[in-house]
Every structure is written in structure tokens, then in C-alpha cells.
């Protein structure tokens, strides 16, 4: 590899000059390797090994002190009604959160960027603040606001409007509503900031040119603003999809280990239930591998749409 690496440590020790090792360590060829060494070691142990091991485990039955290879058995077991329920819950959640967390922030960002709105700093800060709260703490507040009693905030409002109180956490649609609400509440402000950053890339001259051509405000929005927001939109949609498929806490905080009729079960929740609680690690790993495939497909579509992976680092 490197010419210097031919020197063994023994040879180095025999060299009279005591600072030879230091010179070696300080050479421009060696330095970058020392800089990346701790990261590479931790990458190998805590990222590469587990990802390979996850693949292997998904073909095994893992019991304490006894591991047997069982081929595709875990995978054939995965496709059961409970997994389908978890997958469909997650898919609905992903669609809802992506649509809401892309369209609403665009509108909010465009308004915040315009001259229409005053107190921009306050609005931006208050929208952003929820992203700092732990999902568990925020979810606890939501859970107590959407309690079953007539005295909980959500039911108080329903009663004032003349509706019956609801068992928010025990019906399929309202369970989904609660999870989507928590997620959207938390991430709205961050996505608004992404779009605000994206709006800075729109050349102001284009708006003037459009005005001269007699374009309406709406036409300017669809023909000038939106095309320039395309990269940000793809990015935001992608991280929302990935975040949605990885969702766990939003469900856990409402129902802990299990929801009635699995109305709140998600793919990661099922992985946790099977892999950790039931200690069926091979089966859990198979769920994980399927999740990874889904996320790879999503990332791949993003790659295709943006043409460069570099966008992710902006």
C-alpha cells in the first residue's frame, strides 16, 4: 500500500533517531488514516458488522447458546395478518404524513417569505419549537388532551361544538389521526425551514419578468416558485417517507406495548414486539430486512428524481 508501511514497528524501534516514529506519524500520507481510524473502527463494529449480521440472523432461529439455520422460514412466517396490519398502518401513516408535511410547509414557507406576514421571527420560532420536544413528552401531553373523559381538552371542544365525546385512542381512524397529528405537529416547523431555505434560491428577477407578462399571483407560484422548490420538495418528501416507515415512538407513547386490535401497530413496533419482547431475534431480523428493502427503494427513487445523492448533504 504505502511505502512507509513496509517499516515494521520493530525496525522503527531499532532506528536511533527517537523522533522517527513521530515523523512517520506526522507524514501527510499517514495523518489522514489516523484521523479516520476511530471512525472506521466504530463503523466496522457498530454499523457494518450489525448490518451483515442482521441479514444472516434473518435466516436463523436464534436461541440463547443455540443458533440454527432455517433458510427462508422466518420470511415465510413474516407474511401474516398481523404484519400486514402493521404494514398497512405504516403505509397509511406514511402517505398522510408525507402529503401533510410537504404541502402545508410549502404554503406556510411561501407566506412567511412574502411581505404579507409580519412577526416572521416569532412565527418561525413557534413553529420550530415542537421539534425540540421529545416525542414521549409531547405524546404524553397529547394523550392527556385526547383522553376518554368528557373533561379532556379534545372532548371539551367536541362537546362545545355539540358532538359526543370520543374514545380517541380506541378507534382505528382516530388512532391514526393521533399519530399523524403528533408527527406533523413535531416536524412542521423544520420542514418550513427547509422550504424557506429553498425559496432563497428563486431569482427575484423571474418574479418581475412574470409580473411584466401579466402573471397572477397563483401563476407566479405554480410557474416560478414550485419548479425551483422541486429539489427541496423531493428531499423533504424522502426524509418524511423514511421517517414514517421508521415510526415507533408515536405509537408507543399512546399504547405502550399493544393497541386494541393492533390499530396502532407499526412495522418497527412489530419488530420490537417480536425481536425484543418475544425474543424471536431471527424473525425480528427478517422484519428489519424487509423494512430496509422498502427504505432502499425509496432512497433509490430519490436518487433517480434528483440525479445526485449529493443533495442529501445540503
Amino acid at each position: 500500500m504505502l511505502p512507509v508501511s513496509k517499516m515494521t514497528s520493530q525496525e522503527l524501534a531499532q532506528v536511533k533517531k527517537p523522533n522517527k516514529l513521530l515523523v512517520f506519524l506526522n507524514s501527510k500520507k499517514v495523518v489522514p488514516y489516523i484521523f479516520v481510524l476511530p471512525f472506521i473502527l466504530s463503523f466496522l463494529v457498530f454499523s457494518l458488522y450489525p448490518s451483515v449480521q442482521a441479514m444472516i440472523m434473518s435466516f436463523q432461529k436464534v436461541l440463547p447458546g443455540q443458533v440454527t439455520f432455517i433458510g427462508m422460514n422466518n420470511y415465510s412466517r413474516v407474511f401474516n395478518p398481523i404484519f400486514y396490519k402493521a404494514l398497512s398502518n405504516t403505509a397509511i401513516y406514511v402517505v398522510l404524513t408525507v402529503v401533510i408535511l410537504t404541502i402545508v410547509p410549502i404554503i406556510l414557507a411561501v407566506l412567511l417569505d412574502s411581505k404579507l406576514v409580519k412577526f416572521k421571527t416569532f412565527f418561525r420560532a413557534s413553529l420550530f419549537l415542537p421539534s425540540l420536544a421529545s416525542t414521549i413528552v409531547a405524546g404524553m401531553v397529547f394523550r392527556l388532551m385526547f383522553g376518554e373523559t368528557d373533561t379532556a381538552a379534545a372532548n371539551q371542544i367536541l362537546n362545545w361544538l355539540g358532538f359526543e365525546s370520543m374514545d380517541w385512542r380506541y378507534q382505528a381512524w382516530s388512532a391514526m389521526f393521533l399519530m399523524v397529528l403528533l408527527c406533523c405537529w413535531k416536524w412542521m416547523g423544520v420542514n418550513v425551514l427547509y422550504f424557506l431555505a429553498g425559496l432563497q434560491n428563486v431569482p427575484k428577477e423571474l418574479y418581475e419578468a412574470a409580473e411584466i407578462d401579466g402573471a397572477t399571483t397563483f401563476q407566479k407560484f405554480t410557474n416560478v416558485t414550485l419548479p425551483f422548490l422541486k429539489p427541496v420538495t423531493i428531499f423533504v418528501a424522502t426524509i418524511s417517507v423514511i421517517g414514517g416507515f421508521r415510526m415507533f415512538e408515536e405509537s408507543f407513547v399512546y399504547w405502550e406495548a399493544g393497541s386494541p386490535g393492533n390499530i396502532g401497530l407499526t412495522v418497527v413496533g412489530y419488530l420490537y414486539q417480536q425481536g425484543i419482547q418475544q425474543n424471536d431475534m431471527g424473525f425480528g431480523a427478517a422484519i428489519g430486512v424487509i423494512l430496509m428493502l422498502i427504505i432502499f427503494v425509496v432512497s433509490f427513487i430519490q436518487l433517480m428524481l434528483t440525479g445526485a445523492f449529493k443533495k442529501e448533504g445540503q
Binding site: V36, F122, L129, S134, T151, G288
Partner: protein, 279 residues
């Protein structure tokens, strides 16, 4: 000729924004108010919009400070874990980002590929093998089990690399001529120049660690080793008689972050919009 006309659209937009802002702040305000109300009522009624102002008291806070029990262990655990995670992950990833940006060496693309690889693989897939690994290392129920996997921070490497590319390379050559070692250049000259990026990443990593839930939930076992989110989650049972600690403790979990946010807004925004890190 033209009189000052009443323009409805700006008014509607501003009022709409005011309402959206209030909606965003509503749960946080509700949490603050509820923490000043009797916990027995909170357990029985949930969080109500209406409340009797005469019942306002700091009872819950007095209780948590005098008889908080394990709450303070959770707080200290969270504080220690978050601090160590920030220090280690920033140290490792700033070095990598710097090396990737400013040195030309064999295998650079491979290492960058590794960073991209971790970005693509969701943590949930690594979770079970890592859990096994922690059992084998005998690290279950220790700080190390929570911290170690968080040390690999691809997003931070990415960010530092991007930032370091913009640093003046001439400074490095000048320092070399002055006889500085490569490490001296990094720690004494370049790293201080990277302070804004360090601040942003400290917030990203710190917030992630402070609010982290699933992984600590798996590797921490005994009540006095729990972190704040996990400890608080154990109090959230319908039969819980610890709602005083739950509600006051929740406020004290998010309040330090909100205070930090007020002072370091810019870095919070930079850290949280780096992307990809959700949930």
C-alpha cells in the same frame, strides 16, 4: 386620490399565522399550565382547557425536588449520556470530515462510501445484532451500551466535510512552514475555525441523545439506569400514582432545551435542518 384601503388578505394571512403558531405552542403551554395543577385531577380528568385558577400551585415541583426518587437518577443519566455522546461523536466525526475534505489519500472514496452507507441503513435494522453484541460485551444496563452505537454519526461527518471544504487551505501550508505538526494544525488552527459547525452538530447529536427512546429502551433494564424519556414513559400508566413527577418532570425535560434554543437559535436551526435525522 387613493385613500388608505382596508386590505383583507394581509389581515387574513397574519391571523391565520397567529392561530397556527398558537396551535403549535398549545401543547407546550398546556403542559406548563398542567404542571401547576393538582396531579390527582390530571390523572382523573386528563388535560382540560378549563381549570380553576385557585388550584394553581407549585406543589408538583416541591414534590419532585423533595421526593423525586428515581427522577433525579434519570436526569443525571440523560445528562451524562448526552454529554459523552456529544463529545465522542463530534470528536470522531470532525476528524473524518476534516480528513475527507482536506487530505488526498487512498481509500478516501471508500470511506466516503461508508458514510453514505450508514446514512442509508436505518438504525432499526442494526438494532437486534447490536443488542446481541451488547449482551456479549456484557454491557447491558450500562451507559456504554447507549453511547457506543451513537458514536458513528454519518450526518455529522457529512456536515463537517461540507464545512471543511470551505476552509482556507493556505493556513495549513503556512502552519507547516512554521513547523506545526498535522495534528497541531487540526486542533489549534482548523478545529477552532469549525466552531459554528461544531455547535450545530453538538445540538443535533445532543438533542438526538436527550430524546432518544427505542435503543435505550432496549439496553437499559433497571429503573435507576433509565434515561428521562424511558423513565417518564414508565409513569404513564392509567393506574399511575406518580402523575406529579410525570408532569413536573416532563416540563423539566424540555425546559432546558427551550432555554438553550432561545440563546442559540441559529445553531439549532442549522443543526436540525441538516436533514435525514428524524424521529
Amino acid at each position: 386620490m387613493e385613500k388608505k384601503k382596508f386590505k383583507p388578505i394581509p389581515w387574513i394571512a397574519n391571523i391565520a399565522f397567529l392561530m397556527i403558531s398558537l396551535l403549535a405552542l398549545f401543547p407546550i403551554i398546556n403542559l406548563l399550565i398542567s404542571s401547576l395543577r393538582p396531579s390527582s385531577e390530571l390523572m382523573r380528568n386528563g388535560i382540560s382547557i378549563t381549570f380553576d385558577p385557585s388550584t394553581i400551585s407549585v406543589e408538583n415541583y416541591l414534590y419532585i425536588f423533595t421526593q423525586g426518587g428515581n427522577y433525579w437518577s434519570w436526569f443525571i443519566n440523560s445528562l451524562v449520556i448526552t454529554t459523552i455522546t456529544i463529545v465522542l461523536s463530534l470528536f470522531f466525526s470532525s476528524m473524518v470530515g476534516y480528513a475527507l475534505a482536506l487530505y488526498d489519500f487512498k481509500g478516501r472514496n471508500l470511506i466516503f462510501g461508508c458514510v453514505l452507507f450508514i446514512l442509508m441503513v436505518p438504525f432499526e435494522i442494526l438494532m437486534l445484532p447490536l443488542f446481541q453484541l451488547m449482551i456479549n460485551f456484557n454491557l447491558i444496563d450500562t451507559y456504554a451500551a447507549v453511547i457506543l452505537p451513537a458514536v458513528v454519526a454519518p450526518m455529522a461527518v457529512f456536515f463537517f466535510r461540507q464545512y471543511a471544504i470551505g476552509l482556507p487551505k493556505e493556513l495549513m501550508d503556512a502552519a507547516r512552514i512554521d513547523g506545526s505538526t498535522e495534528y497541531g494544525i487540526f486542533f489549534k488552527i482548523m478545529l477552532p475555525l469549525m466552531t459554528p459547525s461544531l455547535a450545530a452538530m453538538a445540538i443535533l447529536q445532543g438533542l438526538g441523545s436527550w430524546n432518544n427512546f427505542l435503543w435505550p429502551l432496549i439496553v437499559l433494564r433497571s429503573n435507576d439506569m433509565f434515561t428521562l424519556p424511558i423513565g417518564l414513559a414508565t409513569l404513564l400508566t392509567p393506574y399511575g400514582n406518580n402523575y406529579d413527577i410525570l408532569i413536573a418532570g416532563s416540563v423539566m425535560t424540555i425546559l432546558p432545551i427551550i432555554i438553550l434554543f432561545i440563546f442559540f437559535q441559529r445553531y439549532f436551526v442549522a443543526g436540525l435542518t441538516v436533514g435525514g435525522v428524524k424521529g
